[in-house]
């Protein structure tokens, strides 16, 4: 049975529906992420789970019991706040001991658990320091330790890495994954960073305007986005406007205006003449000289408009015959890639039949 269930949750602020009829089920031990741009309602959902806000409609169940009317201090879950919200007048050990004291644990147990948890986040030597004496990453780890020490059923994390610089973020991401695996506590993580969501989560719920647009595992979200928003929000993608020309059992023929026919695969029964978008990841496109492999399918000629050398890869922006600028990402280390294309070079782009996804409007 699911650990946490949101059943048809709606939350309104005046005329604004911040959360619209959201239904969600999170399993025990899962690292679940709510991902979306700011204002999409993800933090509102987190605050409703924590008990700082209540849904206007719907119900939240934890371990099968409704949380309606249960104040935050009585909910068996803790939150790691974006600002950390460490108590500035308490030492690191004092902060971590706080939830144990509130739960009425014995002095002996408090000391033992604080020691264990500080060791877990590598802060044993900082136990008697005050928050203002710590670096951002250390504060972050104190906040995590404080949230984990009393072994809550659920740990809510509200953009906890947002205040860290890029390098530290990646380090903390690695630590977070290891930590979650080690303690086995269910994490509900909120972020606007798709990279963070992809790297950390078992499952991601992509949100927009108060709705969950798609909820799936990171690789499925990435390779099989449900709609244009998800496709565009997660990673880099090319979205071509197309019309369905022919639909078979597996094969799908799409017509892109001014470009020609694109062959794709799609098992769904799709009506001929329907309009939609063809979504294609840049790393699945190959770029080569315009005279090569003229007989390939899904091969289109164009001209390099811009290129960005990114070290491990090069990003090509290729203008196609219909004016569409397609992005292609080529690994620089690939064999036979000794020669780079230059801006203005006539080139051809090509992709496998199963590389892209057809998105219905």
């Amino acid at each position: 049975m699911a650990l946490l269930e949101l059943k048809n949750i709606t939350r309104r602020f005046g005329d604004l529906e911040a959360v619209k009829d959201v239904t969600l089920s999170i399993d025990a031990g899962e690292f679940f992420t709510l991902l979306g741009p700011s204002g999409c309602g993800k933090t509102t959902i987190l605050r409703m789970i924590a008990g700082f806000d209540a849904p206007d409609e719907g119900d939240i169940l934890l371990d099968g019991r409704s949380l309606a009317g249960v104040p935050p201090e009585k909910r068996p879950l803790h939150t790691v706040f974006q600002s950390y919200a460490l108590f500035p007048h308490m030492t690191v050990a004092g902060n971590v001991a706080f939830p144990l004291e509130m739960a009425g644990r014995s002095r002996e147990e408090i000391r033992r658990r604080v020691d264990e948890t500080l060791a877990l986040v590598h802060l044993t030597d900082k136990a008697s320091q005050f928050p203002h004496e710590l670096s951002g990453g250390q504060k972050q780890r104190v906040a995590l330790a404080r949230g984990l020490v009393n072994k809550p059923h659920l740990l809510l994390l509200d953009e906890p890495l947002g205040a860290l610089d890029a390098k530290l973020r990646v380090e903390m991401q690695v630590e977070l994954i290891a930590l979650q695996r080690e303690v086995g506590i269910t994490f509900v993580f909120v972020t606007h960073s798709q990279q963070e969501a992809l790297a950390l989560s078992h499952r991601i719920g992509v949100m927009r305007n108060g709705c969950i647009e798609q909820c799936d595992e990171p690789d499925k979200l990435y390779t099989n986005p449900a709609n244009r928003f998800v496709a565009d929000f997660i990673g880099r993608i090319n979205l071509l406007e197309v019309e369905v020309a022919a639909s078979g059992k597996v094969l799908l023929k799409l017509n892109a205006e001014g470009l020609g026919e694109i062959a794709a695969t799609d098992p769904r029964p799709i009506r001929v003449g329907e309009r939609g978008a063809f979504a294609l990841r840049p790393e699945l496109i190959r770029v080569f000289g315009h005279k090569e492999s003229a007989d390939l399918r899904n091969r289109f000629e164009g001209r390099v408009k811009e290129l960005l050398y990114l070290g491990d890869v090069t990003l090509y922006k290729v203008e196609l015959a219909n004016g569409f600028i397609i992005e292609a990402l080529m690994p620089n280390a690939a064999s036979g890639r000794a020669k780079f294309h230059e801006v203005g070079d006539p080139v051809a782009v090509c992709w496998r039949q199963d590389a892209g996804v057809y998105l219905r409007n």
Binding site: A50, G51, F52, P71, P72, E73, H78, T79, F81, S83, A85, L86, F87, P88, H89, M90, T91, F98, P99, M102, A103, F130, P131, H132, R146, N150
Partner: protein, 277 residues
């Protein structure tokens, strides 16, 4: 200093600090020294000071001569303490409410707190005479405390409000999230973090109350005189300037010792709170 820019900066520093320094030298340090010197001289026959070079330690004899002086000192400290505690209890909820009200309303509420200053202090004390007289409380120790609290309450509210207003609301949410009810989060989070405000408010109330003579004179009975009244009487009625000066010096020393002790205690006990204040 090797820095060439230090020169003009030093000059500017002198020009800017000279006027206040001169002011303090003439109007604070000089009178204070005069009081110190006066305390070692003899009283004149008809008031004032006896001609030079009559010097003595007689004025400080009050410390041993009469137990009444010690009694007045102790009573004054007790009144100041009671006033301060009452002010804390009354001002805390008020300051908290102002700090928690919408930003727009806050300025208005702060204005209301300082509004009484717009009218004369003595006029406001006379108003209390009219209020306390009919209910039979006038000229009692109770009236003195009421008057003292009334006069000094804004000096407690303002530093407390300034402190509470800066508290991060996320800290209270964190406390609640980690299992603390409203009462516990107040005592474990809000109150300890507000201690710097409590301390500065207490200093602003305690010290002036010790020297205050108008309130006990107007609202108190004959048994309610405090150090302030005693000092004033030495200069204006008993014409014993050296004794008045000696009493002033003792009061100043006592206040300095107390303030020093409080600052020391605050630094030791409030480690960490500087992060929010």
């Amino acid at each position: 200093m090797s820095d060439v820019r230090a020169q003009p900066a030093d000059l500017t520093k002198w020009v800017v600090t000279l006027p206040p320094t001169a002011f303090l030298l003439f109007f604070f340090l000089a009178p204070a020294l005069i009081v110190v010197v006066a305390s070692f001289r003899e009283p004149g026959e008809f008031g004032g000071l006896a001609p030079w070079p009559a010097l003595s330690l007689d004025a400080f004899g009050f410390l041993s001569s009469d137990v009444i002086y010690l009694e007045i000192f102790v009573r004054s400290f007790f009144v100041a303490l009671l006033t301060t505690l009452t002010c804390i209890v009354l001002a805390y909820p008020l300051a908290w409410l102002i700090a928690r009200s919408p930003a727009k309303r806050r300025d208005l509420l702060v204005l209301l707190v300082i509004l009484p200053f717009a009218s004369n202090f003595l006029v406001r004390i006379y108003a209390w005479i009219m209020l306390l007289g009919p209910v039979g409380l006038l000229y009692t120790p109770f009236a003195v405390i009421i008057g003292m609290v009334y006069v000094h309450l804004p000096f407690m509210i303002l530093p407390l409000y300034t402190n509470l207003e800066k508290h991060d609301p996320a800290l209270l949410e964190a406390a609640q999230d980690l299992g603390a009810n409203a009462w516990t989060s107040f005592w474990r989070v809000t109150f300890p973090l507000s201690l710097p405000g409590v301390f500065s408010g207490s200093a602003l109330v305690f010290i002036p109350v010790l020297g205050m003579f108008a309130v006990p004179e107007l609202l108190g009975g004959t048994g309610d005189i405090l150090i302030g009244n005693l000092i004033k009487a030495q200069f204006l009625e008993d014409r014993d300037w050296p004794l008045g000066s000696a009493l002033s010096i003792m009061l100043t020393l006592a206040v300095l010792a107390l303030a020093g002790a409080m600052a020391w205690a605050a630094r030791r006990g409030l480690h960490g709170t500087e992060a929010v204040t």
